[in-house]
Point group: D2
Chain length 445, copies 4
């Protein structure tokens, strides 16, 4: 619950040494705030104002909209409530950049975000500067803990939108037949392929969910006890080679591996491979894949990505395994601790695409930072879940239906924005996210 | 799991005394089979051939189709595999009455079941007799356990379709502006209204799911351990009086109580009250409700019914409570045991509509036999869940997405067709089933 | 125009010899009325009550609905206005069987006509008898001309629904995979194929539209002058052999022959041939076609049928011709007069399917009575067109948009229900009507 | 017909004095070409690159797309065929900026034109310069007449897109809740309101369609004889005052004035007034209207605009009149000749909005240059219509279905781009064009 979350920035003493948040280190509040704000703008570097206003489908938003909406969030939930000396940049923005908060009032229709040529990108940048200045001014004075908590929420909110900037941009560039390059491809170290191996876990009583001093979203809370049956978890992510075997075995032609709704979706949208895959144009040629570095040959050793839940689930069934539950996944992630192989490259690597795993040791590799991993768990409230009072309570809770939980973090997730208890969620047909899978299976006790 | 289920009818010895199935007593196999088959036909009594062929929406099916499809089930999964001496009634039926089994082959489109004027109702009755005769002939000889298991599955399958016959018929009659009566209304004993009270449960480790000698569907298995937080469960179902207060408080006009998708659905379909409710036409008049006995005044003390998950969930949020999880519900049902108040009227009561509860004692009343109760649990596989091999494995498993579990049993459920572990499931927007709710809340430990 | 139409039954003197209506002879009013009413019921002979209540798509209606609605028409526009002594059969029918007359009030939704199992077919027959009796009683007394005019309109209305009974039934039986037979096929005389020849017409000033003593719909009126360029009209209808050449030449694969909207429709509905055609299952086999006599081999010499306007137009373009305008067609039909070859079999032939043409002489053959012929004319009001006052004015006029005119009459049209000025009309994507084409081309003056 | 059209630029002699085209004067070919090209870019002045890439609905296109596509037209139909020395600017553009010419090959989906952030606006301007240079180079040498004809077609094509630039931009700005201003409003001279009066025409034989030396589209040809009944035509356009009376009389609440499809559309899209009208927010306030100069008070004397055919037709029926046919309109326009009152302001006025009429004399006022006028005629081929060979033949002909003809020209039409025979066409539900109406009525002969 937002209101109760332990604060990143305690009231009296803003630490010079930073605070632990997830597994990462944060600096003092102002620096943290400004760093996140700056990174959003850096993501837009090299893009034109035109690039920043495309909306390629209702699920995706223009980059300019992301830049404005994250500012709107600070304005609406912090500045507008923090006192009389805040001057609104433009009163029309309250409606224009409201995403889905009924408690705030009217909102511009989601599917029409791409028509907002006004305000222009430059104007939105001025809006951002205006908000930055006001938040910094607020933080320079003694600041009540509830505002600090909301600022921290705003920072985490902006990090989520940084990932969306990348996934939405990728979809937009894909819709352009020119398949433009966003960032040049970086060389990737070749690793020998590892056979699929599993780690076993005993099960029994364990505790999941977020607790403690660091930031967590309301939907990760409260921490609570669950009971697990013994299970095993794949030591590495399923990769393109694995998945290609499924395709070549007729996985997209046989309903027996698929959930009924998944098969219907596959048929109606004519899925033949993951999103962004391009079939060989003629014998002898190989598969290609569209990335944020343009069209590339498909690397067989890298984690498969841009799967819907339906595809991930069908693949797992085809190979006699299943998807892990979110509790299993979190339990394993707690065990994995901070071993080096556990972490991938995150957004900061600059790859913007998953890379092959390192040679792994005892722990599952790439739990975080390459692809989100579909779990077999529906996105539902934890026992004792409460939303915050007011409009900010609409943040997560009202979406708890018809969505599946993904765990981990992807190559588009900011490095500071992950933890074992983190719950990402999307409808099962979603394919434009960096989502892949890790296998699980039962262990007979 | 179907193939492993303990048999209703052991191979060598068909008992004269019957076998416990759920809380009910069954006779020997042939009698059980014939009794179920007869009841389906009794449900169609008083209806014309025209009545029996209406399909009022794609989700519902004509009664004639239910009568044929339940026979097809025995033919396809038992008779067609049981030996050379079975003569097919009509080879076209294999496709015509296949509901959704890809493993069996092609199927007539679901939304076009209402165009099948041929075969006529009389022909379908001959088909039923043909199948009945063949199954009885099979049962009169020594019968391998896997066939017995499939016959038992067929009986349970037919019981499920008996409930659907009633819910589909109700929707069909509602679509006819004449609002015809199916069965005359029976007098209902008036009970003084009871305030809402809760039973508390300690939580901790418990076991849910189906195990033991009796029949259970694959989706209830295997039994397994779960961990519950302390909780409380409403002693009675939410009734029309309760729900009317929600309506009158603006529950259908304020998004804050609703899941986001639920609110969208409410808007797009203009829900203002539960399905089948008719608002007062003028001041001074009361609400009315359409039932299988035609239009009736709304009885305030009877359980509210024909709610979607979205409405049940919004109501619970509005009154500061929540829906129970399926594990909580099952745990409570195990405790409730066989106390008299626990059971409602089921289909056999002839009410075809929920009735007000008896004065209750220590246990939650009407856990079974009045309305299905939406739970907060998504319909997903239990740990260790396996489907049967072959097409019959499509029975339940492939629907485990985007559906919510309902527990209990309704006034349209056959009395023998219930148990504490039973998992019913529907998409959250479903309203034409006899579905209501029971409140739950957290108990701080 | 309805109100002004010359009466079939003059007030004072009801003729023993009948009146010319179109090219046909009618008996006195009561006989005419009863004959038409009886024929509707004869069309339902051999069909079960179940057969009579199927609605296979929103555009089509159940036979039972046609039987009731045609009675409703007499009740609503004649009996309800003709005096106090008429007793309504059931007040609910006013809404239940209203097709589209806003001026009459509410109507049961068109797409839900198939849910009306009540009233049953027997009840609808009693309704028909009730109406028959009342109309006969009315006609037995002196009857003001405006009522006579409305009764005549009702007779013509019922004849239109007789054709719809057949086209709707055909679609319904086609949707049933059993492809039931309505009437046994009759032997067809084989005629040697005739090459396509054209009749030439000089053009200039001519007069089209309905005038004179006989009945005509408002949309055929008033008669008026038009100017035609010289043109030529095909002496016979395009037949299956002709059309197959178009298919085999890739007509359904090349957009260049198609209107843009037609091509989109072809793609989205995957048209590969006319409706009801079944492609050869293997080499060596021939095309088959579904008819009201079940599946039959495709007869190459019979007129092609069940085309949309888009297909008819594409075919004409492919062979370097065009569709005639309705004025050209009517001008030619006026010239053709009563030559024997001009007329086909109509509904009364009992073929319920178009037959090959006779050896033709000077006039275009089969102008009437085999297939409706798409024209290049949009369905729009004639100069001076007026609708009748009141709800009956909604009969034709409000549909004058986005529809194309068809001329002639089909094998499902009652023999008395045609004339050179008759305007049938359907949206250009319509395929379930008995619609084919006749070619036209320009003649350079 | 394109190929046969009389040339604007005869081969040997390019006139210094210009050529009559419509009622306007054109300079020599190069100047004409460059003037049109320049005007397109002037329309984009004051707009940002972001403004130029919005697509607010599938029917509308981004301005950048219009700028590129008009260049593509010259490239594809002239330069690519005119010789070996033409260097393609970017081969990808052949597909990217193909609107709908199947004969040219694949095309980028219409509904996704707004995702093309690349090429950017600057790049498209370079593309335009590249094409301009190549066409000028072509025109500087002796040029075969068929190329000249195609260049002239390209000029007219670009003029059509100039109007679309304005209508699409208007819709886009309207979708932005900020309602930005494109060009400042100009003062409008107030004229006293004139009562509706009619000019009468005798009818009889007349000739319509394009003929002669000047340019005309294929769909206006060939000129041909038609026969008209006597009729009368409104001396002025229907204005906002007239139309408001229809609204206030319940015109949008009563189906009796509407075509059946029109009423359905009105209901499903909840039309309550013309597009861009804003109802008074409270009593005492007046209606407002969105224009290319932002929100403005509704001026009662200006022609009503942004009507669908359905609304224009309903209005005419409500006031006991009708829409004119296109032949009636053209006949009247021929009579009106060059009287001053006949012409409005066109695009060149800079109003970008219709203005009240001058005091009129004998002729109908504002036949051209204020609003397009819906006619009662479907858009169909004239007798003897032929399309050009090749892909350019797809220009007009393949759209001749389900559209209605509009006559005249609007305040967004370039002044040189009109003539009495000009046929504009849109589907009847279209509202974003500058379309209004002029009444007609029958005159009893």
């Amino acid at each position: 619950m937002v209101g109760d979350a332990k604060l990143l920035f305690p009231l009296d003493e803003q630490p010079a040494h930073g605070l632990v948040r997830g597994a990462a280190i944060r600096g003092p509040a102002i620096q943290s705030f400004l760093a996140v704000r700056k990174r959003s703008e850096e993501l837009a570097e090299g893009l034109s104002a035109e690039d920043c206003m495309v909306q390629s489908m209702p699920d995706a938003s223009p980059i300019k909209w992301h830049l404005a909406h994250t500012s709107w969030f600070f304005e609406t939930f912090v500045l507008a409530q923090a006192g009389a000396d805040f001057r609104t940049f433009d009163p029309a923005y309250r409606m224009l950049f409201n995403s889905y908060y009924n408690g705030v009032g009217e909102m511009h229709p989601r599917s029409l975000r791409g028509v907002l040529s006004r305000p222009g990108l430059d104007e939105v940048r001025r809006y951002r500067a205006h908000i930055d200045q006001a938040i910094v001014a607020l933080l320079e004075r003694p600041c009540p803990p509830e505002w600090l908590a909301l600022i921290e929420l705003g920072i985490n909110h902006e990090e989520q939108h940084q990932e969306l900037i990348l996934t939405d941009l990728k979809h937009h560039l894909w819709c352009n037949p020119l398949h433009p390059v966003y960032r040049a491809a970086r060389p990737v170290a070749a690793h020998p392929a590892m056979d699929m191996q599993f780690c076993e876990y005993e099960g029994g009583k364990t505790r999941i969910g977020h607790a403690g001093d660091s930031f967590g979203f309301d939907n990760e809370q409260p921490a609570h006890t669950v009971w697990l049956q013994p299970f095993a978890l794949g030591k590495r992510l399923v990769n393109n080679r694995d998945y290609l075997a499924f395709i070549e075995d007729g996985g997209y032609r046989q309903p027996e591996y698929w959930l009924s709704e998944g098969w219907e979706r596959r048929r109606s949208e004519n899925w033949q491979a993951p999103l962004y895959w391009q079939a060989p144009e003629s014998a002898g040629q190989g598969w290609r894949i569209f990335t944020l570095s343009g069209d590339q040959p498909l690397r067989l050793d890298e984690p498969v990505c841009h799967l819907s839940y339906y595809e991930a689930d069908a693949y797992a069934r085809w190979c006699g395994a299943r998807l892990p539950t979110e509790a299993e996944w979190e339990h394993a992630a707690q065990q994995a601790g901070t071993a080096r192989e556990v972490f991938g490259g995150f957004m900061e690597s600059g790859d913007f695409h998953p890379v092959p795993p390192p040679v792994t040791g005892a722990q599952p590799s790439q739990m975080f930072g390459e692809v989100w991993q579909w779990t077999a768990s529906a996105y539902l409230p934890y026992p004792g879940f409460r939303t915050a009072a007011g409009a900010v309570g609409e943040y997560n809770g009202k979406f708890m239906i018809n969505q599946m939980v993904l765990r981990g973090a992807s190559c588009a997730t900011p490095r500071e924005h992950f933890r074992a208890s983190y719950r990402n969620f999307f409808p099962p047909a979603t394919r434009w996210q960096f989502a892949g899978l890790r296998l699980a299976r039962d262990v007979l006790g």
